[in-house]
């Protein structure tokens, strides 16, 4: 029987395993150093905040794995020998594979700041990071978070539930300003401050200062200011976790290089999820996609290939979502921080300053290109269909009410939005 080994039990690896099982009878082994069972990385914050326990973050009950003949192995893969098709594991075992799927995820970035390895300084990615965070913040009164991305704001929310004073250092002019247009970024910025976080925009880290026990005691910013603190969270992005491939012939760049079918340069070896890098970016997508959904989609795709139905990774329209404290965010299609030449957009914001909607369209063809929604839930299916069918912006405005996915009895804003957008469109045309 063919043996498929998957390194990494995250969403990408597990999705691949599940789908291979559905399609075939192959022997499947999933190896992970992090945890015995698949858990939801996106739920890490809720464990720290006491909303859930670790058990609750496991998407499948423990009996699921044996029942579906998915063998789980808790170990670290030290190296891959692609000639003999062997994996060297830390506990001494050597495993032989017929097909190998690399789904090893990411590791937090750190950019060589002085003091970045001190006690009380860490990133947040794994379960072990969470344990360390528990330890590191036990007595912290003041924490500094470096970097204003999605994990940074989650970390801020986490620390706030334990009543720490939190300072966030963000390089851009606005929170997540590299991704969000200014209006949305400012909306989030206001909300962050509403939660009593000292949000420092256009502020960069210079170095981390430590005491004689190599414990962090302060950070120094590029403008020379010292901020004393007992904890520093580094949330300046992540990079593919590929160190163990150093001496293998598998080609890597930032991530493991794959073609559209998620095949590496070595036959029988595939890479999916956070650790994979497309040789050529697909459309507007980044070559390395580090979100839950794309990991899942690559898993679905590679399972087909492994089971004899070679398939290219062909994601549909981009979508993503997040939550900034109490404000939910959904995005469909492309909305850039700075609009491109041909793009224009319509923006509506509720008077409470916590809900907004931006529709982006092509100025010439009037085609709908994407949207950002804050504090409003929209139907994925419909937004997806608009993008696939290249709907016109007029059509989207007209169809807005049917895309509403807010819970029942919520105040509806579509009439308001539609009125304003139709007016704006007319002025733009004139």
């Amino acid at each position: 029987m063919e043996h498929v080994i998957i390194i990494g039990n995250g969403i990408a690896g597990v999705t691949a395993a599940r789908h291979i099982r559905k399609l075939s009878d192959k022997q499947i082994t999933i190896i992970s150093k992090e945890s015995d069972h698949f858990f939801s990385r996106t739920a890490l914050m809720y464990i720290y905040m006491g909303h859930m326990k670790y058990e609750h973050t496991k998407p499948y009950e423990d009996h699921f794995w044996a029942k579906n003949r998915l063998e789980l192995l808790r170990d670290t893969v030290l190296s891959v020998n692609t000639d003999t098709r062997e994996l060297q594991l830390e506990k001494g075992t050597v495993l032989t594979y017929d097909q190998l799927i690399l789904a090893t995820g990411s590791r937090p970035n750190a950019f060589g700041w002085p003091g970045q390895n001190a006690k009380g300084v860490q990133g947040l990615y794994s379960l072990q990071d969470l344990e360390l965070l528990e330890e590191n913040t036990k007595h912290t009164r003041h924490a500094v978070i470096v970097g204003g991305g999605l994990i940074g704001i989650e970390l801020a929310e986490m620390l706030r539930t334990r009543h720490m004073d939190v300072t966030m250092l963000v390089r851009e002019k606005d929170f997540w300003g590299g991704v969000l247009p200014p209006k949305e970024a400012q909306l989030v910025g206001r909300h962050i401050r509403e939660h009593h976080i000292d949000l420092r925009l256009e502020t960069e880290l210079e170095e981390i200062l430590t005491d004689e026990h190599n414990q962090v005691k302060a950070v120094k910013t590029k403008s020379g200011e010292d901020i004393s603190c007992g904890f520093v969270g580094l949330t300046v992005g992540v990079h593919p976790n590929i160190g163990f491939l150093q001496n293998s012939p598998i080609e890597t760049d930032r991530g493991i290089l794959v073609n559209r079918a998620l095949e590496t340069n070595v036959p029988g070896v595939y890479a999916i999820g956070d650790c994979a890098q497309q040789r050529e970016a697909i459309g507007e997508r980044k070559p390395v996609e580090q979100v839950w959904y794309t990991g899942r989609m690559m898993g679905e795709t590679v399972a087909q290939t492994i089971c004899g139905n070679r398939m290219e990774y062909a994601p549909g329209p981009w979508f993503n979502s997040a939550k900034f404290f109490d404000i939910e965010y959904q995005t469909y299609g492309w909305v850039w921080a700075k609009p491109k030449e041909n793009e224009a957009s319509l923006y509506w914001e509720h008077e409470d300053g916590k809900k907004c909607l931006r529709l982006v369209y092509d100025k010439d063809s009037m085609r709908f290109l994407g949207l950002n929604a804050f504090g409003l839930r929209l139907r994925h299916e419909l937004c997806d269909a608009w993008l696939k069918k290249e709907a016109s912006i007029d059509h989207v405005i007209e169809a807005l009410p049917s895309a509403n996915f807010d819970p029942e009895f919520y105040q509806k804003h579509e009439q308001d939005i539609m009125r304003q957008f139709s007016k704006n469109l007319k002025t733009a045309a004139a």
């Binding site: 939801s40 909303h51 939660h195 010292d226 839930r377 819970p407």
Partner: protein
């Protein structure tokens, strides 16, 4: 630049401790409760009306104050911080104490009301006496243990309802739903029946009737003394009796068709009302395992069978044999019950087989048991007996096992250990029947939003009915489950806006081969196969 004194700072601890305000509020509430406890131990209060009002008001004030310190002044949003750190809400020591306390209260209430001060023929004493003034003001009669219970129950729904509304103030579904349960409890369960009792006289009397309490939850509704009393009360009584029957066969199915069983379980019902308000801090304790789901189906269906047989036997036992006296005779009644059940069963099997799935087996077994018993009743029963059991015995054991022990002692007493809906999930026959209707012919479903689920598990964790919502959401499947009471909390706590409770069309309600949105269409088509 100051050094952080590591071991002296209190911050950074998990948010498990109560704040000063919360402590104050708890103390105030306890003060009110203390008055009641003193009354239980027969401390004499001179001005009962005053002390009772004082006690009840302090308890309500304590709860509202607690809510105010906890939620006011903070941005609105999901407030589950520290739920699994706090002893009371994570099956810690406090939870066990609390469970013991409530369980004890229920045991005394149901089986030893004399300790609460109930005196059959004479002046009440103890806590029941403390409630006499209120009872007299409402119904004109002295209080009973049930009046004390009803008052405290209503107060709990009211005060914890306010707390719940504060907590979920950003969610209008939750707010409106909670106002609804508060209203139905106060008006229908508490005030109206008491006022109805006021109308009673020597010659004319209505049984105590909480109109929203429908058979089989109200398993005693068709007992002889009630039927006699309904019938003897002329038009009003007959109207009430007809309403009781209509609510089973017409009102319930129609509303469940349109809105799902939530119209009852989380908008109207008193048991649900308490679970949603006072029980809210415990909703996460429900068991989500597949094993629990199995137990649930066996138990809840057994209870339906039990209550059906019991009610049939009870009604059967007081009907006559002679059709000349009254058109409804024993045989007609039995045949009628059998016919209705057969009709429902055949309809379900023929038209809804696809939706029944696993439940079909339970249904078939249940149906078989009931029909065999009906035949048994017909063949073997003498005047008062079903097989060898007396109908009355059957009724009293149901009342004891299900009505008292399950719904009260375990149902509420075990809130802090097994979650707030133990009774609704494992024991309530009404929930089972509504669930059957919900699964088979309702428009209600919980839609899943494309491919947005991140499998975080908030929805499953906070589902009080122990439904593994995530299992559906992460497959892109709609949730159509007979046990879902439509509380809407899964949708509220979902951080990615994945879930929406809807009354939609039947088409595509149950999605047999769901896919998650995101990938290329040709792959999605493949996955659908």
């Amino acid at each position: 630049m100051s050094e952080v004194k590591k071991n002296m700072a209190l911050t950074g601890e998990p948010p498990a401790a109560l704040s000063a305000g919360q402590k104050g509020a708890t103390a105030l509430g306890m003060l009110g409760l203390g008055v009641l406890l003193l009354a239980v131990f027969n401390v004499h209060f001179p001005n009962k009306g005053l002390w009772l009002s004082l006690s009840l008001c302090t308890m309500v004030a304590g709860i509202i104050w607690f809510a105010q310190v906890t939620y006011a002044g903070k941005p609105s949003g999901i407030k589950n911080d520290g739920v699994w750190f706090k002893s009371i809400s994570s099956r810690g020591l406090w939870a066990w104490f609390f469970a013991l306390f409530i369980t004890g209260f229920y045991v005394v209430l149901y089986f030893f009301p004399q300790y609460l001060g109930l005196v059959k023929d004479g002046e009440n004493t103890g806590i029941i006496a403390l409630f006499d003034p209120l009872s007299k003001a409402l119904s004109g009669n002295p209080a009973s243990q049930w009046f004390v219970y009803g008052t405290l129950y209503t107060i709990a729904i009211f005060a914890f309802g306010i707390k719940f509304i504060w907590k979920y103030r950003h969610n209008r579904y939750e707010v409106i739903r909670t106002v609804s349960v508060m209203f139905f409890q106060t008006a229908f369960a508490f005030i109206i029946p008491e006022l109805m009792a006021r109308l009673n006289s020597e010659s004319w009397s209505l049984p105590y009737y909480d109109l929203k309490n429908i058979w089989p939850l109200n398993y005693y509704n068709f007992e002889q003394y009630r039927i006699d009393s309904f019938i003897s009360a002329g038009t009003v009584g007959t109207a009430l009796l007809i309403f009781g029957i209509l609510s089973i066969f017409v009102i319930t199915p129609v509303l469940t068709y349109k809105y799902g069983k939530r119209w009852y379980c989380s908008w109207v019902c008193g048991c649900g009302g308490l679970a949603e308000t006072a029980g809210d801090p415990f909703r996460q304790l429900s068991d989500k395992s597949v094993r629990a789901w199995k137990i649930e189906r066996w138990m809840v269906h057994s209870v339906v069978v039990f209550v059906t047989i019991m009610t049939t036997a009870v009604v059967h036992s007081y009907l006559g044999e002679d059709s000349g006296k009254y058109w409804l005779t024993r045989s007609t009644f039995l045949v009628g019950v059998a016919a209705v059940l057969t009709l429902v069963f055949v309809w379900a099997v023929v038209f809804k087989r696809d939706k029944l799935q696993k439940d079909a087996r339970y249904g078939a077994i249940g149906f078989f048991v009931v029909i065999m018993t009906l035949i048994g009743i017909h063949l073997f029963s003498g005047t008062q007996q079903v097989f060898l059991l007396e109908a009355e015995k059957l009724r009293s054991s149901y009342g004891f096992l299900i009505g008292a022990v399950f719904s009260g002692v375990i149902g509420v007493g075990f809130y802090p250990l097994m979650g707030s809906r133990v009774w609704c999930r494992f024991g309530c026959p009404m929930a089972a029947i509504l669930g059957f209707q919900q699964k088979l012919f309702s428009k209600f479903k919980i839609s899943t939003n494309g491919g947005q689920c991140i499998s975080c598990g908030n929805c499953s964790t906070y589902c009080e009915m122990g439904i593994d919502v995530r299992a559906y959401a992460q497959k892109g499947q709609n949730i159509v489950r007979s046990s879902c009471v439509g509380c809407g909390i899964c949708s509220a706590v979902c951080p990615r806006g994945v879930l929406k409770l809807e009354n939609d069309s039947h088409k595509g309600r149950v999605d047999e081969s769901p896919v998650l949105l995101g990938n290329a269409d040709n792959l999605l088509d493949l996955l659908k196969k």
